[in-house]
Each structure stands twice: as structure tokens, then as C-alpha cells.
Symmetry: C2
Subunit: 527 residues, 2 copies
Amino acid sequence: MASFCVLDEFEVHKNEEFLRIAEELKPELHEREIRPLSMVKVEKNEDGDTFVTDEKAQDTLKYRVFKKDESVILDFGTHYVGYLTLNLASAGSHQDAPAYIYVRFAERLDELTENTEEYTGWISKGWFQEEYIHVDVLPARLELPRRYAFRYLEIKVLDVSLKFSLVINDISVKAVSAVNDENIQLIKSDDAILRKIDEVSIRTLKNCMQFVFEDGPKRDRRMWLGDFRLQARANYRTFRNMSMVKRCLYLFGGLTFNEGKIPACLFLEPEIEPDDTYLFDYALLFGSVLLDYYRATKDQKTLEDLYPIAIRQIEIGLTYLNEDGIIPDRSGQFWCFVDWGDGLNTQAASLAILIYSMRYGIRLAEYMKDDKTIHWLTEKMEELKRSAVDHFWDGEQKLFVSGEERQVSWATQVWMILARVFDKEKNRELIIHTIEVNPEHSMVSPYMYHHYIDALIRSGERERALEEIKNYWGGMIKDHADTFWELYNPHNKYESPYGSVAINSFCHAWSCTPTYFLRKFYISEFE
Amino acid sequence: MASFCVLDEFEVHKNEEFLRIAEELKPELHEREIRPLSMVKVEKNEDGDTFVTDEKAQDTLKYRVFKKDESVILDFGTHYVGYLTLNLASAGSHQDAPAYIYVRFAERLDELTENTEEYTGWISKGWFQEEYIHVDVLPARLELPRRYAFRYLEIKVLDVSLKFSLVINDISVKAVSAVNDENIQLIKSDDAILRKIDEVSIRTLKNCMQFVFEDGPKRDRRMWLGDFRLQARANYRTFRNMSMVKRCLYLFGGLTFNEGKIPACLFLEPEIEPDDTYLFDYALLFGSVLLDYYRATKDQKTLEDLYPIAIRQIEIGLTYLNEDGIIPDRSGQFWCFVDWGDGLNTQAASLAILIYSMRYGIRLAEYMKDDKTIHWLTEKMEELKRSAVDHFWDGEQKLFVSGEERQVSWATQVWMILARVFDKEKNRELIIHTIEVNPEHSMVSPYMYHHYIDALIRSGERERALEEIKNYWGGMIKDHADTFWELYNPHNKYESPYGSVAINSFCHAWSCTPTYFLRKFYISEFE
């Protein structure tokens, strides 16, 4: 299913003062020169997995000459975001034709065995990181202008001529990020997989931190509010780049639309602009980002500037309630994200997220000493908790249901727990019962898994949460993740919401939160 | 058959003084801004011909929006050489994915219906004028860095996204040439086809005149001595850009190799360098270029500088003679060009070209008052004329034969006539007899046709020569030539020495000489 939103009457309200504050906080990027570590050969096996069949030191590369249809795959050792420079030359007679080359960048080995021409998914194939390049004059220093996210680089000679061959004298990458991980200490666990999860989380976060918190440096390359919220949480426990969180808060606050809604995502170029996409849950979670930021910084000015916008999102959210005190079902639209996964009914979760956001609103109002708001929000929140139970609790199944067809999903239970519709003990029973029942509508995205882990911890299931982190994010590591992925369904390794796993993003912001959990809730164990 | 030469022990002798003279004569290019005239649709019919099925004014282009897989073909009205700038924008929601476009430049309509991926010829497919381009940020002013030769431009949207479309706001080309044709008067013939032949010849020459006399601005893009000789002849009758001829003479003279041989071609970038290709006939014809130049300019200094090099080529040519006083057959190698065409035996023609070059050498020696050279060259030339007749004249067939299998070809007769092995009357009989017999090994390239026309005129067959110009070059015009082609075999329209007609060059220097013939030999008729 193609999931996108186009708003017909989309009127952006720019707050120039907020945008000025954001612009002043635009970071200088750190740059680091990287070279490939080795040359590899890959193959796809019968299960569809791609693996390395041969590996050689890359220092012999410059002695190779490439004729037509010859290629090489370079391995940079781990995931980077940056700009490629190739130093190319010719061997044999004088170059008498353009050297025509194909380059492909891959975050994962699987992308290297994918035929991009066969892709028929609904998002643009322009996202495949591949280029066809004519080099008219050799030797040449070829600085590719576009930015890529990758660990592997394939260079294929589509043609040279019978008189000359291509020589690759040097390959370098200017890797970029707004942060530097040199001073980040990894956790001191005895458990290698936890140390690795921490490391990969931090690399994921780092590679997504560019001029803003991007969602994925390979694909999308913009800032989604839902991802930003989780990135900021991981950032407080690692890089502590407070000014970037502030910058992004002001960007969202400075680019509202129509009734004051916060857009689900912002584009960065040619200038920062909102997407005409409203996601009910993302907009409501703005208050959560603001609260996290305030707690991390005590930055009263930012709280005061943005508090009205956070509260406004709740007010707007409440306008969607019907007379029964629930949100009508809009699961067929790209309107309340919750999770990827075909057929997920989001009606109950959308109410839960509204309730959740109200609790954050109350906390913000407390810091603002805004008693009036505390009062009405509290009253309304309790009312909605009751209608959540009245409409969606199935006493027989002991699970929440959603939509007309009374769908039972993991997502619904998780958000009802996070909304604290029940007390902690009942939430604990609910999450354990959910695990036992294992509803068919499972979780797909690390974004949803983040909320599941959060729900476990908040219900007192700390140990189980740690196990699930190890299972889920550890599963990606077993599948050779250098950075955590946009999508990971342990039950369907090749799941993609876009029609091909090769177009998935394999360094994706919303997947970086294990480091947040480990460092916030388990830190005493690692000291 | 792949036709190329690689010399193993290739040692370039640079004459820095000559190269300095050449460098000082490097022209400034004239630039002109061009825009497309119309949008066309094309189709291929059962005969394999591509034709226009629909044409619209291009001024409606900017109102069109392009979704995935939509394309447009722009017609610039005639052939240009230059640099493309596209002004692109988006329509719909904010651009949320790279716009991925394909552009293809075509000198002829046929190139637009060719699938370049199916090309398996022996020269580089890098010569196809096509690019795959990702445009990350719209609006964009896209200045393509490479130079193209074309009349038609196809732009195809490979992908955008479901949220936005591509808009093409403006397309412009900076057309370049070392010369300006504004002051060139076309011939005043009543015959429309002759006027058109003159016009197309001049455009061909103009578009090949860049920093040197290039052979083809689409493909090869270098200076071949054989093409240069014909270009210079056409130039004396049209643009009269003497300094460019001088520049190119000094370049060849300044870049000899091994025993002092002149290379068959020069590369222009990254700096001017000779190709490691020796073509026996091309090297010998250097003296002919020098003589033409001296007669056009009376530039004594250039004659004195380059005369020894011209004579040296003849001396080298003579070293290839065997004890029978003929050149051994090397038709299997790319050693003596003569013409394209599979299976052409060049043994007899190579001797004829040696004799021809000696006559030019004698004329040069006369201008140099070098009696010693006049003497030995004359003596040797007469000796070789006798061995040409002894070895290659077939008295029964009344035709020259070539090679062990005694092949009869047009090329052999033409070059024997130009070598003046016989007197004018016998030459006239020979060319008429050749026309009657019509040997199976016909002529393929306009380069060879040039020499055929020359042979007709020199044999007194002026009217027939004019008819043949109208038939041959007029044939290309009937096939919609805006510039004359590298290859034109009236008996096989889709002949290519490279494996596909789409990779042929359709603006090719050696094809520009009708304007030379018309203006040199027929000018009184046009006044």
C-alpha cells in the first residue's frame, strides 16, 4: 500500500523569529577522510541472503586494470555518510573513448545483488544510490557531488575501449556528521551483544545527525517528528548535542500550518519547508519532545516559546473525537502512523496516543505553572481513559481491540499501556498476556519496538525488556547490521513497505534507541 | 572487424617550438544561445526508418508536468555542438525524492529509437550521448558539463514520486564553434539540392571546427590527419580560417614519433598528444595539406618549418617497398586506411597513395627550390608508376587489381587515377570503365567519395562529378541530413563499421567537401 498524504489546502505559517533561532544553531559538520579496507566478492545463496565469498586487501587495487564489464566491490569496514572522490587513470594506449562507469553504494550486502531495474515499488527508484558516469578525460579526480550512505561501493566499468583500460588509483570518502564519537565511551557490559548494540545505536544516531536529525541518510533524508523524538532521547544519553535538539524543536515550531498543526516532516532543501503531511500521532508527540528537552536542559526560554504549540496539538487532537469520545477509524489513510505493517488498525492506538500526549501536556503545564491547562487536561484525560476502556477493552480476551473488526494487535496493547489507561500492575498483566497470546498483527518497525520496550520497562518488566532488546536489535546485528535499520521484522526478513528491501533504509534514526534504554535504565549494571 | 592500432614501442618526439606556435593559435570559441523549436514524437516503421509522427510548438512545454516514465523529444531545428542547460522545477507537493531523469542527444532521429543497452559493437558504448541524472533539489538549474552534438534532445523522467511531478521551465544550449557562419554566402545555384548541399557542407565543417579540426563532434572528437586535409580544403573556400590550419599543421609537425613518423591522429585532452596509430596513407598526405596551405597563404615560414617533415613521411613510405617495388599487402591490419568496408584490399591503393604523395612532395620541393629532392623524388615516382602498372594493371579487365586474390575495387581505381599512373585521357577511360563495371567492392565513406569526385574532375568528367555529388551527398540530404555523415553507403543505409548505425557520427569532417568542389570547380556557374 502506498502510504502518503497530500493536503489540498496547505497554508504554511512561518514564525520568522523561531526560524532565525533555528538557523543560528545550524551546525558545522565534522569531516573525516575514510578509505576502503578491502575488496570483496559477493554471492546470493538460495535463501536470498547475500554473503562475502572472497576478501582481499584493498592496497592491491591500484595494480589492477579494468576492462569492459569488470568490476570491484570495496568494503569501507562500517557504515559512513559522505562524499566520494575517485582518482582514476588509464592504462595502455591513450584514452580514445569516454570511460563509462557505474557506481553503486550499499549500506548492506543485499543491495549489491539487487537488480535496480526490476524495482517496481511505489517510492521513487531515484533513491537507489547508483550513478552512470562518463569520464571523458583521464586521469581524472572525480568528486561526486551527491552524498551517499554506505559501507560498500561497487565500481563497474561499463565500457572503455580496446586500446585502454581503467585504473583506480585512489578512493576516498569525506565522511560527515554533526557529531564526533571519539569521546563516547561504550557501555562496559560483559555481554558482547549489548556492547555491540550500544555501538551500533550510536553509529546510527551519529550518521543520522547532519544539519538536522535526519530520519535516514540514504533515503528520505529529511526530519520526521516521530524519529526526531527518539533521536533526541538517544542523544541526551550520548552526544548531548542540546543545540541540535533546540534547533529542530524551533524548526517544527516555526513551520506550522492551517489551524496551527505541526507537520509530520520537514524538508531541508532548497530551504527548510514543511511537508504537506499531517500525522495525528507525530503532531501530538511534539509535547513529549519538548518535555524531554526541558528536563535535559532546563531551558526555560525554549519551553515558554514552544509550550503553546505543544498544547495546541492536543487541542487539535481533541477536535477529532466523535460523540462517543473516541477517534473515528481512519486506518485506510496515512493519517496516524503507529507502525508499518499491512492492515494494522490504528483506531484504538490513536486514542491511546492522544491520552499519552495529554500526560506530557500536563507535565509541561506544571513546569509552566499553568494551572488552568493542568486542570482541563487532567479532567479530559481521565474521561478519555474511560472511553478507551469502554470502547476498546475486550474483557473476555483480556486485550484491547481496534476498529470495527475488533482487531487485536501488539501496537494497540503497547500504546494503551504507555497511555496508562490501567495502573502499573494491570499494565504488567496486559503486556505479559500479550506476549503469551502473540497477536497476529505483530510489530514491524524499530519505532514500534521502541514503544514496546518502553511499555515493558514502565510495567516493571525490566529484565524482559533487556532480553527483547537483545533479541530484536541483536537480531539485526546477527544479520550484519553496522547501523540499525528502518525495518526489521524478525518473522519476515525481507519485509518492505516499499516493494523491495533494497530500497529500505539501513541506517534509520528511529532505530537508534537501544543506547537510550541501556544508558537510562540499566546504567548501574555497566559501571 | 575491429580496426585499431597499438604500437608497442611508441616514442613521441615533441618539438616544443612547434607546439608553442600551435598553442598561441588556439582559438576563442564563438558561443550562441539556442533553444528548441518544437516538441516531436517519433516512430520506427517496418523498414527500420524513424520518422516524426507529431510536432508541436515548444512554447507549451513549460505547462506540461512529467510523471514517472513520461518523456519529451525536443527538436532544435538543425545540428548544433554545445552545452545544455535545463531549468527544472517541481509541481504538486514539495519534492520528496530525487527526480531521476534520462537525457539522450541525437544527431539523427534514428538514434532516438535505438536501445543503447543492446549495443554490442567493438567501439565504446560510452560514445552514446546519454546521461542518467539524479536531481536532489528542485528547482534546479542543471548545467551539463559535457559537450554534445545533436539536433534532438530526449528527456525522460525515470522516476519522481507520487507527490510531485517534474516541470521543464527552460532548455537552452550554448552552441560553440571556432567559426561564425554569419558572413558566409551560400552558392547562388538555381538547383535547390546544390544550395542545400553547400549549406550542409558548411554546417558540417563549422560544427567540426572547435579548438582544432575535429573529425566528429559527437564521436571521436579528435583530429585525424586524413579528415584535417579535407577540412582545410573546404575551409579555404568558406571560413578561410588560416590560423587554424596553421595551428593543426604545427601540432602534427610537433608530435612525431619513432623514426619521425606523423601519427594518424591527435588527442586534445588532457593535453594534446599523439595516438599510437600510424596510418601509412594519412602520414603521406601531410605534404598535401602543407602544399594546400602554402598555396592558400604563401606562408613561407610554415613551409620551411614543416617541409622536412613532409618529405620525411615519403622517405619512410619508401622504406616499406619490397624488392618488387610495391608495398606488401597489409590489408589485414589497420595500417593504410583508404576506406571503411569489410574486406577491402588496400595493397594497390597504398602504392598509389605513395606515388600521389610524391607528386605533392615535388611541388613542395619546387617552392623550397630544393632541386636535389625534386630530382630523386621525380625519378623514384616514375619508377613506382611503372611498378604499379607492372604489378596491378590487369590488361584484360582494363582495371587495376589488388592483393593476392587480385581484388577489383573502386578505391584502387580512384587512387591510381589520382596518382596519375596513366595520363589524363587514359584515366578518363579508366573511371568511365569503372563506372560501367561497378566493381563489387564499392565505396563506403564520404572520405573515399571525395577522392572519387576528385578523380572524376581531374579526368575531365566535371559534369559527371557534379551529378555524383548530387547523388551521394544529396542522398544524405534526402535522408534528412542536417550535417554530412561519417558513413553513407547508398547501397546499405544501415552500414556501420562499429556494429550499430546509432554509434556512427552524423556530423563528420571528411564529409564536408562538396562546398570545396562546388566553390573551386563550379563557381562560375553560380555567379
